[in-house]
């Protein structure tokens, strides 16, 4: 098991012949990801790491089974690539692109929801289920971070994810599935929308969320917990507690507006919903132990 992706998920790579695309295709494949085909317009007939390349998603999907698409496509062409995947009926899409025009991120999220699909990203490292499969570019070879285990991780950040996940591993745990929802103001998928999958995943005992100031994603997690949609232990770490007001620190998504999105507000909401909030990354491990012991696991 694992959420979003597993060893059997048939993955298409859009932008497979590019420098990043081919490099990470090799790594994803090495890690065990089942990549069935790739697409780069005009490159039909080529092969990348033994994977056949097509001109279009429609063409690739006609020849191969495809359940998910991984995009290595520049930000300005990401909307086009996402819509191409959605139109071909693909329901799981990961885009790492950093710099997608903001209005296009709105179009992407809206279209994904209308198609009942999940788009993860942009501005993320992707999704990884250590030891099973990966859609993205994680340094899975760093064992003190990407160790297989039973803790789900969701994050808005990149480097901070390594920092915090290392603490999860240092505490003796490993990761079931890590999803980077990305640092954009309008990510394709939000924390709370992934909680049901973690709730249902028999291989996930608890979830760690790595948030930051700005937006309302952490508040939505608290809401979902209050509604009983997620009942496993949840530990959170949030960056930006001391960030000065009025300066944009962190990701573009990390802005507090209209009285919403402050770290204090998020912490209060999460704690009221029963989550444990770590003030420092180092404390995430302790809180996980505390939560899982309370649960009697």
């Amino acid at each position: 098991m694992s959420i979003f992706i597993n060893k059997d998920t048939k993955v298409l790579i859009q932008g497979i012949t590019g420098k990043e695309g081919s490099y990470w295709t090799k790594h994803m494949k090495e890690m065990g990801t089942r990549i069935t085909c790739g697409v780069t317009p005009g490159k039909k007939g080529q092969q990348v790491e033994g994977i056949p390349v097509y001109n279009s998603v429609r063409e690739a999907a006609a020849e191969h089974e495809v359940e998910a698409s991984m995009l290595f496509v520049p930000p300005r062409f990401t909307k086009d690539a996402v819509f191409e995947a959605l139109d071909a009926g693909i329901k799981k899409i990961v885009t790492i692109a950093d710099g997608i025009p903001l209005h296009e991120t709105m179009e992407i999220r809206k279209a994904a929801r209308q198609a009942d699909a999940l788009v993860i990203g942009g501005n993320t490292s992707g999704v990884i289920s250590p030891g099973k499969a990966m859609m993205g570019f994680f340094p899975y070879w760093i064992e003190r971070v990407y160790k297989e285990g039973r803790i789900g991780v969701m994050t808005r950040s990149g480097s901070l994810t390594n920092e915090v996940t290392a603490m999860v591993v240092r505490a003796g745990y490993g990761v079931s599935t890590l999803v980077g929802v990305g640092g954009d103001p309008v990510p394709g998928t939000r924390f709370a929308e992934l909680l049901p999958a973690y709730q249902d995943d028999p291989e996930t005992d608890a979830v760690v969320i790595i948030g930051e100031l700005g937006g309302t994603m952490e508040e939505e997690v608290a809401d979902a917990m209050n509604k009983g949609l997620f009942t496993k232990p949840l530990v959170a770490f949030l960056g930006g507690r001391t960030a000065p007001k009025g300066k944009r620190m962190g990701h573009a998504g990390a802005i507090a507006t209209g009285g919403k999105g402050t770290v204090e507000g998020k912490v209060a909401a999460l704690e009221a919903a029963g989550a444990l909030v770590a003030q420092r990354p180092r404390l995430v491990g302790d809180l996980l132990k505390q939560a899982l012991t309370e649960e009697g696991r």
């Binding site: 300005r76 950093d98 710099g99 997608i100 025009p101 903001l102 209005h103 991120t105 709105m106 179009e107 999220r109 809206k110 929801r113 490292s125 570019f137 994680f138 340094p139 070879w141 760093i142 994050t155 808005r156 950040s157 990149g158 480097s159 901070l160 994810t161 390594n162 920092e163 290392a166 640092g183 103001p185 309008v186 990510p187 939000r190 930051e212 937006g215 309302t216 939505e220 960056g239 930006g240 507690r241 001391t242 960030a243 000065p244 009025g246 300066k247 620190m249 962190g250 990701h251 573009a252 998504g253 990390a254 507006t257 209209g258 009285g259 919403k260 003030q279 420092r280 990354p281 180092r282």
Partner: protein, 375 residues
């Protein structure tokens, strides 16, 4: 990228929204002349991007050209970095309205906010009288339809002639939002004059940086930044924020940097600057360090990374060779992890640096170095 008020109002005028007659002035004598041409009373409005200009005394009502010249000189001489004034004819106000369009990330739609009690900041209004703010949402592909503009206005309790005049304002606001790839378009206050006319009293437009390639009309200028350093770093494509503390921060990754900033504060330290050394900049250690070392208040340089594509070994080599070239006088604390970190640590150790691997330890060391506790 934020537009200045005078730029935002140029856009408003282009879309048929009424703005007060105005001129811009770069000197006190230009301001005096503008006051003459427009006929007093006029308002001198400092063109700076910070909020709360009124409270900070950066907006002045004057009743004669002489007064305009004198007050303008005071504004240019103030410590707020005022480089341009908008000299605007004073408006005979009956009512102030708040209207804006921004983004609702969860709905992935444009979100309008309207309050018929404008003039205060929306954060204040949201905190104190949330029931006075009325919302409407528009799909970015479908656009804002006229019925939605009407709906918003009627729900806000506006009727009759004012409603008729507000409808096109809402519709034009959306056109600006869409055409300029905006994150925010705000008119606050929108004046209703005693003559029943709607006039934009102020204007904010924030353009999405990721759409800069199709918004070529505007470019970053020195006026957009608080300091020369911020501007120089931005021109180099290096995200940079200037503070006035003691630790110069060179970090990779927005989330990690923000967290390190928190940890420094927890430990009682202070930050001199915040520089993004990740992403495309990870090979530019020399330029990054050069910028950091310009902070004369900095007592230590703290480097924290935990990267994937931004390879640890490349960053370490960059740091070491920058050290050799720039010969910094302040100590450097490194906590470089991630892809090829073993090689990175060897490189750092060979250069006489202590390659730490725990962020909190690194922060504590930096803070104690500032206190002169150890080296």
């Amino acid at each position: 990228m934020k537009l200045f008020e005078y730029q935002a109002k140029e856009v408003f005028a282009r879309y048929g929204l009424t703005v007060p007659p105005s001129l811009t002035a770069l000197t006190a004598s230009e301001a005096e002349q503008a006051a003459k041409d427009l006929e007093c009373p006029v308002v001198l409005k400092s063109q700076v991007l910070r909020g709360g200009r009124g409270k900070a005394g950066l907006i002045q009502l004057v009743s004669s050209p002489e007064e305009a010249g004198q007050k303008a000189q005071e504004l240019f001489d103030s410590p707020h970095g005022v480089r341009r004034l908008l000299v605007e004819k004073a408006v005979d106000i009956d009512q102030e309205i708040y209207i804006s369009v921004t983004i609702d990330a969860e709905k992935a739609e444009a979100m309008f906010m309207l309050s018929i009690e404008g003039g205060v900041e929306i954060e204040t209004l949201a905190a104190e009288s949330p029931e006075k703010i009325h919302f409407e949402y528009a799909d970015i592909t479908r656009g804002l339809l006229p019925f939605q503009a009407r709906d918003l206005i009627y729900r806000a309790g506006v009727e009759g002639d004012l409603a008729k005049k507000l409808i096109p304002v809402v519709i034009k606001l959306f056109s600006i939002f869409k055409d300029y790839d905006a994150e925010l378009v705000e008119i606050n206050p929108l004046f209703l004059t005693k003559q029943g006319e709607l006039i934009a009293g102020d204007g904010k437009i924030m353009i999405d940086d990721n759409s800069a390639h199709r918004q070529e009309e505007y470019s970053i200028t020195r006026e957009h930044f608080d300091s020369d350093m911020d501007f120089e770093a931005a021109q180099d494509g290096i995200p940079y924020l200037q503070f006035d503390g003691e630790i110069s921060l060179m970090c990779a990754g927005a989330g990690l940097t923000t967290t390190v900033y928190d940890l420094i504060n927890y430990e009682g330290g202070t930050v001199a600057n915040y520089l993004e050394f990740g992403g495309p900049n990870y090979k530019r250690a020399k330029r990054a360090m050069e910028l950091c070392l310009r902070n004369r208040t900095a007592k230590v340089l703290l480097v924290v990374t935990f990267g994937t594509i931004a390879r640890a070994d490349v960053m370490a080599e960059g740091i070491v060779s920058a050290m050799q070239e720039l010969k910094p006088e302040i100590p450097i604390v490194t906590c470089i992890r991630g892809t090829n970190e073993e090689a990175a640590h060897k490189t750092l150790a060979a250069a006489g640096l202590d390659p730490l691997t725990d962020t909190e330890e690194a922060v504590r060391k930096a803070v104690s170095l500032c206190r002169g506790e150890s080296r």
